[in-house]
Amino acid sequence: MTTIFSFKADPPLDLIDYVVGIDSDSWLDTLRRGREVLRDNAQKSAELLLNPLEDGEFLQTHRLAVAAFVAGLHGDTAIYRLYLDLLERSEQEKELSPVIENLSRQGRTLGPYGAYPAGPLSGEELKGSGFEVSDVNVDRSLARALEHAHFLTFHPRDASVQALERLKEAGWTDTGIVTLSQLISFLAFQIRVIHGLSVLRDVGPAAGATLSENPS
């Protein structure tokens, strides 16, 4: 990868293709374009959530911090490195990226876990850890957002109205919470698509598919 990824690149770069290393007209490009509307809207979602025209109440630096944190919770992957890099390049407040690196390392565990309503599912309850951000370099609204991201990544079935109340106490509005929830939940999708495509890339095309593309 010689070009550095940017949402503002001209010609525009597709984030998933960039991270997985999919060249135009390669077998994976052809495969992805079989679902072109999805391909376009996965990119559009990333742009809307991570490079918005207007930040609203959710600063772009904080959006990138949440993205780097969530990606980092999934392991030390290419998408994690990319979001950390975008965070470093965007920062108004310095020194957030090493803090996020540290927090995502501390926050790693195995998911999904969580509770169920009392009844036949009680036997399936899995206890796991919560996560608190007390770092003085992280402001209160971002700290609560990162805690929410940890919960939503690893144990979404522990959801409660109290989790949303904690965000509101830190200044998040209903609309801000919707955008934050979309960002964290979208990342769960995007990280998995990138993972799946990367495994396909490593395995290579099915033997039959290669033959039909090279009829000679």
């Binding site: 509307v37 309503p117 964290i184 395995v203």
Partner: protein, 204 residues
């Protein structure tokens, strides 16, 4: 709907304590937009105008652009029948992911969708009840269920072994990509549905 009304209505209704194919209701913990206040920008995000009746979509309409991108992704993954995985298997993946993550509401909807597309009612009922398909279930179904689950683990537990097994069982790459997309998408959908409100059994 005021917070007081939500609190009152909660005492009248019962949250399901198990996975079910029954039609459930869903109640938001945050204020959805009022239907009368929706503008064209909101309808653009909702995509289908009928979705304005749903409190879930009117809540997500607070950020209409990302709702629109989410909805168009959803439709291409589950409704685009140009090649790829049969729809009942895409819906099976959605059900399996929802069962694994613990989204009782999402699992109920997509088990019904899979059944409507020709999925086995018995296999789906067993998946909802036990979290597993019966042992005599068709191999392709077993693989879809297993791989949907692997893709939903954090860190993601999907590997090259799964691609090889899928190809050996006769899955084409377009079908494998549909399985990856459908399973990944439900990791998005489940998290919104679980964290922004709660399900109840239909009132008598």
């Amino acid at each position: 709907m005021s917070v007081t009304e939500q609190t009152v209505s909660k005492t009248d209704t019962q949250e399901p304590d198990r996975f079910t194919k029954a039609q459930l209701d869903w109640h938001p913990w945050l204020e959805p937009l009022e239907e009368g206040n929706l503008t064209e920008a909101h309808y653009e995000g909702l995509v289908d105008r009928a979705r304005a009746k749903s409190p879930y979509f009117r809540l997500l309409a607070r950020d209409p652009e990302i709702l629109g991108a989410r909805t168009r992704s959803d439709k291409d993954i589950f409704y685009n029948v140009a090649g790829g995985l049969p729809r009942r298997e895409r819906e099976l993946a959605a059900t399996a992911v929802s069962r694994f993550n613990g989204c009782i509401y999402c699992a109920s909807v997509h088990a019904r969708f899979s059944e409507r597309q020709g999925g086995s009612p018995e296999a789906l009922a067993a998946l909802l009840e036990t979290g597993q398909l019966p042992q005599d279930t068709d191999l392709k179904w077993q693989l879809v269920e297993e791989i949907a689950r692997r893709l939903s683990e954090t860190p993601v537990g999907f590997s090259h072994v799964h691609i090889r097994v899928l190809r050996q069982a006769g899955f084409e790459d377009a079908e494998i990509l549909d399985l990856i997309n459908a399973s990944s998408f439900f990791n998005w959908a489940n998290r919104l549905m679980l964290s922004l409100g709660y399900p109840t059994l239909p009132s008598e």
